[in-house]
Symmetry: D2
């Protein structure tokens, strides 16, 4: 940690600061210049409260030199984490997981049909929303408990692991037969939820918030891991920018960067990121080539109303075409 | 609502869409051009699921013409909402509320001293954090239940209403003697929390998320109001931009704009927005002149460690100087 | 074009507006609702000054239904534009162009060595900066005229077309032997420069500004094209967001989206976008798979100072490895 | 300057780096820790090319400790710069300048009428656009030379200094009778233009780019100042964010922050920032209270077409009301 001190800082305050550091067994080293003094701290600086330090009269700025995330940090865990689902499906360490399914669970028929179809195309996890976070309280909030029951029923009928979103830790008992629990972007910093998920032993798919940095994403993973659950899968799903032609801006560079920062698997959600079905296949393949460990893709089928081709959902046929291209992309993936 | 249809859209699909609208008692009006067809919908379009509509093959884009927020909408409630606390303190409709106090509650002595001081300077609500949302699980998480008890004790001792943050609706019983319950920026779209707060009868101070639009803020207010609690106070606390010289960018234009959109009171938090004590007084006064109904300001005092002058906290002396200027600013406020 | 009128708009003003539209041979169609009136305009609305229209008392908002870009619009030019350089090298329509070279031209030896090396690896255009836009007036501004002369000399010696940046149209005569003229991100809306480039007949590599939308990028292309030069190559080079781990955020979704919007070739600059050499290969390959028509990559070699491995530059060896992978990525590209 | 070195950095490379620093008369100080080494540099580090340094194999990151702007820096010039126009009007150092007028010059009658009106209301500078930067090449580009001549004619007729935008340094001779030359947001980093303006002796109103940091704004001021022209007025006119309810987000905190960083005057443009006339008065007054040295406000009058009340322009009556409130706001301004 590097502390830049203000010009002409008060000698007494500096002595108190030095003494405070020594109390924590940290020996400061000084670099005195004409216009400034730099204080270098080495040792275990994780105990230092940066906010309190930054609040000091004599401190101009502080620069952390080591990362604030520990358990998620690749430096202390160089090998890729590989997470294995109950049926043996793996993610991470070169194992690509393809999650596909409808945004919202609507009925048993709908879910069964899509599940069969995406499994046949090669998806190895079924996604389907039961609890839906919606900007408006007047919008459909999902089938909730009933939707979860349908999801588990279809899982057993078709034989495919399932992933679905949790919005409230009170609902955790309902997720007993769910294989992967998703935390949505809006809840990435719902710390009470994260702590409770850290005490269960299921894989957690943690989505990056719309305006959160990668370091903040890792700090949220750290909330889960520090409670004992190391099975965290990170998900980039688009960030909020000024561009209005896409719903969000997909940050594919997050894939190689997160792979440098952490050992956790990284998946990409091109459906929510772009909000446009026509952009999903190229973004999915680009993510695989950039080294993504998985994809989560919306697939929808609504023949009875002929209301197909969702704004961001692929049809089963479009997904089948995409799935057929994934292996080829994997062959040229860069890691 | 205006629907722009794709070029050469399928006649059968268009008939189905028209029929669907009529089922909802909405009569579409068409404007046919050489290259496009525009469909105007009037009537109660709040029932229409825009996502489902946007998912149709034949739809190019949709433009909402009326606002999606209802209970918060000034159109349907032209008078300012005035919220009154138990002791008679009012906010809204020309009543300025000044909330001040420490970021974190540290001890009874600390809190008592600051409470006395800010009350003497003219603050009419004491703020103090007991449950602290922290990016890092390793950082101080607040005194939690003990902090809440201290806050209530000091409230009674000094005679000043209090505001503090809730992070989990399970903690609601602990907030019985709190006057205003704060929802932090990170929980602005924690919809389960909002719904529970909508079922209590305390004023809710709802902070805008770091990358949320004003419309989204109002939709979150709507979550609370639609459950029955109309006492919502909106708070702008800085948005995330590319600028790094301040912690966030304070959007003061949110004050007059929200006053056009909604009847709810609007307060400004210049401390968290800027992250710099030296910017707090000018931003606080600018907010008052722009018509803000309140301010929430960090004030800290830590004489025993001489670690005063927090990065974003004013000293009691600085706050006293600012408080003395607020009345003058109010005299020239524009509304 | 759709105009949403304000509630209770003045009848006289509405009549004047209607008359104004008819003067331009545009017949308005009205949809009257309880709370609003929508005015649909079809016909040639390109003559309408949207700013003036939006300034009317009775207008609440306006929605363009057709795109403001004409010559760049794929709707009116469905075939991909293919640009051919003097030596026969093509870009667009399935032809991938790989531009590589140093950020700044430093000496004949440096440039010659890098040119040989990247050509041997498979690059078909040499890049090299002579005029350098620098944030600071005190930073190295490039070798300017001397650098341009070196670039042309090396072009002829090695036999490879060259691309370099222009900052001032007064310098145009110096670019006579340059094959592609680059407009940097900071000059994307330097309209006087664009107009002059529209009057020359060289291919223009137009970089997207750091906070410009894709529509704005196309409007800047339109400035060049409307003066007669249709040889515009669009370049995405990262946009400015809140993320600080990369220099900018590379928006790869711009590739398929621009391909829908326009017939012009689209290239990606992963070096400037990420600012980190370690991210360049994966982002370059991802861009190719997403359908990019070209890449522009920084390659640097500085053995005498052993100051290799530039922050965002690849070494010749790293570039050679990447170049060897590009063909494989092209095989699985999605378009 | 602080350099953080990579773990286990190569001893030979470190020696070469140390030697390179000493060649520049900079003595490095080392802080060695278990996991990292920090190198503190004091002395005149302005000669160091940070890009080249950051490109070194052994360097993990660099932190500048001193600001890169020199002539604009308040540290080296503690007194406010006061700029005086030919007629004695001053800006800076407590002198408030109010610039008002139409976005575009349309005719002598229009400009004369507005000039009279705003002067009577208290404006001390007339603004009016002759060269208009427009996103679209098909939009009205301003009256150009003819507009400039009208502006100067009205200046002389009414007796009020004038400010107008330059887009091309070739046009400089036309600006001989203009009092303040404006550089628009899109040209903030048009460095060739800035250098030419640095060689004239007129005050330059430099607008912040839509996604530029305050440090970058000061570096652009530095381009002008380093060529000899110290009369630079900085202008905040809104930055680009995700919010869509306003055209841009006005960053009023830029006023007190720039006053800390620099001695140059700071003005606010609430018209372009918000894009809504209804927000202009409150934002203008808030800016004055925050310490702004000036305002630039759009005022328009178009009675013959009854097309008044421009989206972002005040009517002369609205401006008169605002002008009457400015003095009151100035009385409670915070500096």
């Amino acid at each position: 940690m590097v502390i830049v001190l203000k010009n002409n800082c008060d000698k007494n305050q500096l002595d108190r600061l030095t003494a405070w550091m020594r109390e924590m067994n940290i020996e400061p080293h000084f670099t005195h210049g004409q216009n400034q003094t730099i204080m270098g701290l080495v040792g275990d600086t994780s105990k230092i409260d940066v906010d309190m330090l930054g609040a000091l009269d004599i401190v101009e700025s502080i620069k952390r030199v080591s990362e604030p995330y520990k358990q998620a940090n690749r430096k202390f865990h160089p090998e890729d984490t590989v997470i294995e689902l109950e049926n043996g499906t793996k993610i991470g360490g070169g194992n690509l997981m393809v999650m596909a399914g409808p945004c919202s669970i609507e009925s048993e028929e709908q879910l069964t049909e899509i599940a069969k179809s995406v499994k046949a195309s090669g998806a190895n996890v079924l996604r389907g929303g039961a609890f839906k976070p919606r900007t408006s309280p007047y919008a459909f909030q999902g089938m909730r408990e009933d939707g979860l029951q349908l999801l588990v029923k279809v899982k057993e009928k078709i034989g495919i692991p399932v992933v679905t979103e949790i919005m409230d830790y009170e609902h955790l008992p309902l997720f007993e037969n769910v294989d992967i629990i998703q935390v949505g972007a809006r809840n990435m910093q719902n710390f009470e939820l994260l702590k409770h998920l850290g005490r269960c032993d299921k894989p957690i798919l943690l989505k990056r918030g719309l305006s959160n940095t990668l370091e903040e994403l890792l700090m949220s993973a750290e909330y889960i891991m520090s409670e004992g659950n190391e099975k965290v899968i990170l998900c980039e799903r688009g960030i909020r920018t000024f561009e209005t032609a896409t719903r969000n801006t997909l940050d594919i560079s997050a894939v190689p960067l997160l792979h440098q920062m952490t050992h956790l698997p990284v998946v990409i959600d091109p459906s929510h990121a772009t909000g446009k079905a026509s952009l999903v296949p190229s973004m999915a393949l680009a993510a695989v080539v950039a080294g993504a460990d998985g994809l989560i893709i919306e697939v929808h089928n609504n023949p009875q109303k002929a209301l197909c081709d969702g704004a961001q959902s692929l049809t089963p046929e479009q997904f089948d075409d995409l799935a057929g291209r994934i292996e080829g992309a994997k062959q040229v993936a860069y890691r």
